[in-house]
Amino acid sequence: MSQPRQSPARSIAAHAVLILWTLIALFPVFVTVVNSFKSKQAIFTQPLALPGPDSFDLVGYQTVARQGDFVAYFQNSLVVTCLSLFFVLLFGAMAAFALSEYRFRGNTLMGLYLALGIMIPIRLGTVAILQMMVATGLVNTLTALVLVYTAQGLPLAVFILSEFMRNVSDDLKNAGRIDGLSEYRIFFRLVLPLVRPAMATVAVFTMIPIWNDLWFPLILAPSESTKTITLGSQVFLGQFVSNWNAVLAALSLAILPVLVLYLIFSRQLIRGITAGAVK
């Protein structure tokens, strides 16, 4: 196959544009992390310099460690994200299996009903969700957040997973049936392991908005003991707005775990987005 010729000038121009945007994308993150390790004076006099021996200072991190309850916030976020993710994947995969495997009356309608939530944001129901949580006494509990995020994540999960489950070979499932496996065993033992890559993709897509969400923690669980890391750092940043060391350190602490996770899973994420194209 003949590859199209790329003239050197064209390729240099392409690289120039891509490098420019990469710099624009990374610069703010870079500036924040670099300055979080510097003394207050150095932050202002040489904001673009790397921390040197005389400007290196961890005072910001010390303030964060003393003042903010970041470990607890982090735990809350972790609990909420992991539990929601578990329920989205389990319930989503079960529903996707029912929709893709069985013919029954109302199948298409059910699929459409569940897909509604992809386009209509759950936030529009917030007023009633809050009233419901107040009525059931779930305000200021992590349960409220887990419930909301599970509902929020399900539509896309069902949609993506049922697309993938249609591709699981029928012969395999029928062989299982002949061997006397129950429908539940076929789902858990045969189908789930086969759609693991799709599950990973759904997991990444579900996880990021949950971890980063500010709206529902702010409205449903603003108490000190249930703050998530996103809400916790928002409040912390508001209080310490004039303490630049502390703000930069808190921002860096909020960036780093997500960044590390992203760099580990980026292959998965990008493969997920381009799934239709790259076979």
Partner: protein, 305 residues
């Protein structure tokens, strides 16, 4: 279900958890929010007022000024995304998909990084960078000799909203880039080769061969941007506060909804007016989605390879 066949309980078991959670937490509240907008609070209870709340929202000067302001701002917010984010996304995707480009995995990974950060982080980082106190933005402009252009953009009524929209573009440009990139990769090689046989290369190849083929992807991106923008809240709240300053110049429907139903400072929360605003947002998003589904998507020709 056909008569005589046993009821297949396992289907119900598989569907039940998802349908229950989804219906109870998402669909039911959505409809009861729509319902709430038809009532108002009276002493000791609520009273049905029909569409009065909407009359108040659109007609009463105390409410309508804020509503139309938020809606106008939201439209501008969306326009900036469509005019800046999506073209940049398409450009980056087109460059990334050019054959034998080196380091393309690196570029892809790096350009997507802002998208995974939370609004809290993004809002604050840009607040610091654009702050006249710190001086990173003026210093950078000084390097290219444009220091005179610097202004405290987030604090000026005429620039604040556009600045925030551009920050949001910076954060989310990775999404159109990835989706278009995927669409470009799915164009079969023989089509491109045929075009090259005919001497169509470079820009004209992109415009005349590839662009028509990725139009469906551009449609999807537009509707995703639309829904996302009319539902936005976090970035404005984090960087400008619930009052969406300066002087409500950055107030969009999300922040207006939050202030109204949750209350803010001296203003008491009003669930019924909040529900009314949510209903209006619901209608706007529904209209947008319908336009996309019935007018745009059906006209875009899909090519099966």
């Amino acid at each position: 279900m056909a008569k005589g066949r046993p009821i297949r309980w396992h289907i119900a078991v598989f569907l039940a958890p998802a349908v229950l959670v989804y219906s109870a937490i998402m669909i039911l509240p959505l409809f009861s929010t729509l319902n709430l907008s038809l009532f108002t609070r009276t002493e000791g209870g609520t009273a049905f007022v029909g569409l009065d709340n909407f009359r108040t929202l659109f007609g009463d000067p105390r409410w309508s000024a804020a509503f139309w302001n938020a809606l106008g701002n939201n439209l501008w917010f969306f326009a900036v995304h469509m005019l800046v984010q999506n073209p940049i996304g398409i450009l980056l995707a087109a460059l990334l998909s050019s054959p034998r480009l080196r380091f393309s995995a690196f570029y892809r990974t790096a350009i997507f990084i802002p998208t995974i950060l939370s609004f809290v982080v993004v809002g604050f980082i840009w607040k610091l960078i654009l702050s006249p106190l710190w001086g990173i933005a003026p210093d950078l402009l000084d390097m290219v000799g444009l220091k005179s252009l610097f202004a405290p953009w987030l604090g000026k009524e005429e620039y604040a909203l556009t600045t925030l929209a551009l920050i949001s573009v910076w954060q989310f440009v990775g999404i159109p880039m990835m989706l278009i990139y995927a669409a470009l990769l799915s164009i079969p090689d023989d089509i491109i080769e045929a075009a090259e046989m005919d001497g169509i290369t470079g820009w004209s190849q992109f415009r005349r061969i590839k662009l028509p083929l990725i139009l469906p992807a551009i449609g999807i991106i537009s509707i995703l941007t639309f829904v996302g923008n009319f539902n936005a809240f976090d970035l404005i709240y984090v960087s400008q506060g619930a009052l969406a300053g300066p002087n409500f110049a950055t107030d969009i429907l999300g922040t207006f909804l939050y202030r109204t139903f949750f209350g803010f400072q001296l203003q008491l929360g009003d669930p019924h007016m909040g529900a009314t605003i949510a209903t209006a947002m619901f209608a706007i998003i529904l209209v947008g989605v319908c336009i996309y589904l019935f007018l745009i998507q059906t006209r875009l020709r899909r090519y099966q390879f």
